[in-house]
Amino acid sequence: MDLATIWFCIIAFLWLGYLFLEGFDFGVGMLLHRLGRTDTERRVLVNTIGPVWDGNEVWLIVAAGATFAAFPGWYASLFSSAYLPLLLILAGLIGRGVAFEYRGKVDSDRWRRNWDRVILAGSVIPALGIGLLLSWNVLGLPLDAAGDRVGSAFAAFGWETLIGALAVAGFSIVHGGIFITLKTAGELHARARQLTLRIAPIALTPLVALLLLVQLRVGSAWSWIPLGLVLLAAALGYLRLLADREGQAFAAMGVAIAATVVALFGALYPNVLPSTVDPNFSLSIADTASGDYTLTVMTWVAAFGAPAVLVYQGWTYWVFRKRISTSHIPPVHVP
C-alpha cells in the first residue's frame, strides 16, 4: 500500500473516531430536554460528557487538518463547495461548546434554559450537517475540471443528502441514548434505556437507507459485507440493550459505525471526491495527494501521535468511568 492510500485510511479512521465519540455527545445534547426533566437531571446529562466533549471534538479538527495536509485538493474542493452547510456546522459547534461551559455559570433558570436550547440546536444542526457533508462527499458534488463547484450554493442539495443528514443525526441519538444508559444510574438510566429502545428502529432507518443507496449506486460485491455488518451490529446492540447489557450495546454501536465508515470510504476508493458533472472530473487519491516527503513526515507524526491520543483519551474515560446520578450533583455555587 502506498503512503497516499495509507493516509486515505487514516482520514477514514479520524472520521470514525469523530463519529463514534462526538456521536454520543450529539445524542446527549439532543436528548437533553426529552430525558432531563429537572435541572439536576439535565446537569447529570451534561456532566456525563463534561470532561470529554472537547477532546472528542478535536477529532473533527484533526480530520480536517489531516485532509488539508495529505490531500489539499480534496480539502479545498469539499470545504468550498459545502460552504453553507459548513457555516451551519460551525455556528452550531460554536454555540454548543460555549453553552456547555457557560450554562452553569450563572444561577438563573432563564439563563440555563436558554443555554439548554443552544445545546439542543448545537447538537441537532451539526449532526445533520456532518451527515450531509459525508453523504455529499461519497455521492459526489457538481465539480468542474478545476475542482470548483458548478452552479449555485444550493446546486448539490437533493433527497439523497437529506437521508445522509438524517442518518448521522439518527445514529447519534441512539448512540447517545445508550451512552446515557451506560453512564447514569437511577431513574435517568431507566428512562434513557426505555426511550432508546423505543426510538432505535426508526432512528437507525436513515443510516441503513443511506448505506443501501450508496451500495446500489457505487457499491461492489464486497461492500455488502460492511452493510450486513451494520445491520447485524445494530440488531445485536438492540438485543443487548434489551437484556440490560448497555456496555455491550454501546460496543455494538461502535462496530456499526466502524462498518459504516468502511462502507462509505470503501465506496469512495480510489476517489476522494466524485464529480457528478463528469466522472473524469472526479478527484482521486492520486490526483490530490501531497508529495511523498510530506506524507512521510506526516506518517511519522501520526505513528507516534495517534497511539498517544488513544492512550490518554482512553485514560480520561477510565478516570471518569463512574456512573453519575442526581445524588452526585453538587449544589449550585456561583457568584
Binding site: 463534561g50 468550498s80 460554536i94 450563572v106 508529495g291 510530506t294 501521535g305 457568584p335
Partner: protein, 499 residues
Amino acid sequence: MDVLDLARWQFGITTVYHFLMVPLTIGLGVLVAGMQTAWVRTGKLKYLRMTKFWGKLMLVNFAMGVVTGIVQEFQFGMSWSAYSRFVGDVFGAPLAMEGLVAFFVESTFLGLWIFGWDRLSKRVHLACIWAFSLATIASAYFILAANSWMQHPVGAEIVDGQPRLTSIWAVFGNSTVLAAFPHAIAGAFAVGGAFLVGIAAWHLWRKHRDNTGDPADREVWRGSLRLGGWVGLVAFLGVAISGDFQGKLMFEQQPMKMAAAEALCHTEQPASFSVFAYGDVSQPDCESVKSLTVPALLSFLAHNDFTTEVKGIEDLREEYGEKYGTHYPDDPRLGELAGQPVDYVPNLPVTYWGFRLMIGFGALAAGAAAFVLWVTRKGRVPRTKWFPRLALAGIATPFLANSFGWIFTEMGRQPFVVVPNPNPSGVDGVWMYTAQGVSGLTVGEVLTSLIVLTALYGGLAVVEFFLLRRYARAGVEGVMPPEKPKDPDEPSDKLTFAY
C-alpha cells in the same frame, strides 16, 4: 464588495477575534500552572485560592478560544480553496500536526484538570494543567510556523507548478518563526500579566478602602498583582528584544512591508525613523506628509548601524514589478483584477498606524506594569480611586498591541498571501497573490457567513465579558464554596466539580 474583499474581511475579523482569546489562554495557562505548583509544593492556602480564581477566569475565556479556533481550521478550505490547493503540501503539515500533537493534548488534559480535582492525585492533577499549558505554547509554535511560511517561504520547491515540501526542519527552523514565536509568546504573557494586575488592583484597593477581607484574601490579591506586574515587565522586555530582531529580519525578507510601516516614500541614507505623521500617509508623493522624525534611527533599526541606506516605497515598487510582473495574469478566476496592474504597496495608513499603535500600546502596557509595581512597593496600596481605574483600563493595552501587530503584519504583506522569498538561493516561484487564493464562491455565500459569524462573535463577546466581569468581581468566594465541616454519619458522594 466582491468575494475577495468579503473573504478578506471575514478572515481578518475572525482571526483578530480569535487572537483576543489565544494570548489570554496562553498567558493565564502557565501562570495558573505556576500557582498550582506553588500550592502543591508549599501547601499554602493562598496559592490554592489563586489557582481556583484565575483558573476559573481562564476557563471562561478558553471555551471561546476553542470554538473560534475551529472556524480558523475550516476557513482556509471554505473561502481560500485556491490558496489551500496551492500550498497544502507545505502549509497543511504544521496545521495537521498542531491538531494531532498539541490541540488533542490541550483539550483532553484541560477536561481532566477541570473535573479531576477529586479524582486524581495532587501531582497527577498538577501534571494535567502543565500538559495543557505547555500544549497551548506548542500549538502557537505550529501555527506561527505555518504563518511564517506565508511571510517567508522556505523548505519547498516548485514541482509541476506547485510548491512541494522538501524539508520540514526548514519550515520549523525558519528564521521568521524563530523571531515571531518569542514575540507572540511574550505578547501573550503581557496579556496575562496585565489581566492579573488589573483585576487584583481593583480587589486590593477596594478591600483596603472598606477594610474588608481577611489577611489571607488580601494576600491573594497582593500576590497576584505583584506577580502580574513582574510578568508584564519581563514580557515587555521579551516583546521588545524579539520585535527588534524580527524587524531586522523583515527589512531583509519583506522590505516593502517595512517601508510601508514607515511611510518611507524615497530611499534614504541614513534613513530617519518617523515617530508621528501629520497629513495623509497614503499620498504616494509624500509631499503632503509632515512627519516628526528621529534622524538615522531607522537605519539602526533595520541594519544595526546609523549609516546604511533603507529602500523607499517608490524604488521597491519598481523592483517588485521587475521581479514579479507589473500586471496580474490574465486568469478569469481573478475577475476584475485579471490583466490589471498590480499595486505592490500595502494599505499605507493601516500599516503605518498599525505599526505605531502596536508599539505604543505595548509600551503603555509596560509603563502601567512598572507604575503599579512602584506604587504598591513594600506593602503600599494607593488610596486614590484612579489606581484601580487605570489598572483595569491597562488590561486593554496588551490586547490592543497584539491586535494591531497582527493587523500590521498581515496587511503589510499585501498584495501577496504567500510573500516571495527574496533570497536568490531560496525557493523560486513559491509565492501567490491574495487575489489568486480566494474560492470561487458567490457573493451571497460569503456575505451570509460574514454576517452570521460577526453577529455570533459579537453576541458571544458580550456574554464572555459579562461572565468575566461577574467572576472577577466576586473574587475567591465566587469560585470556592465555604468549607463545611464534614458529617461522618452522612457519607457524601457529591462531585467536587460539575457543570
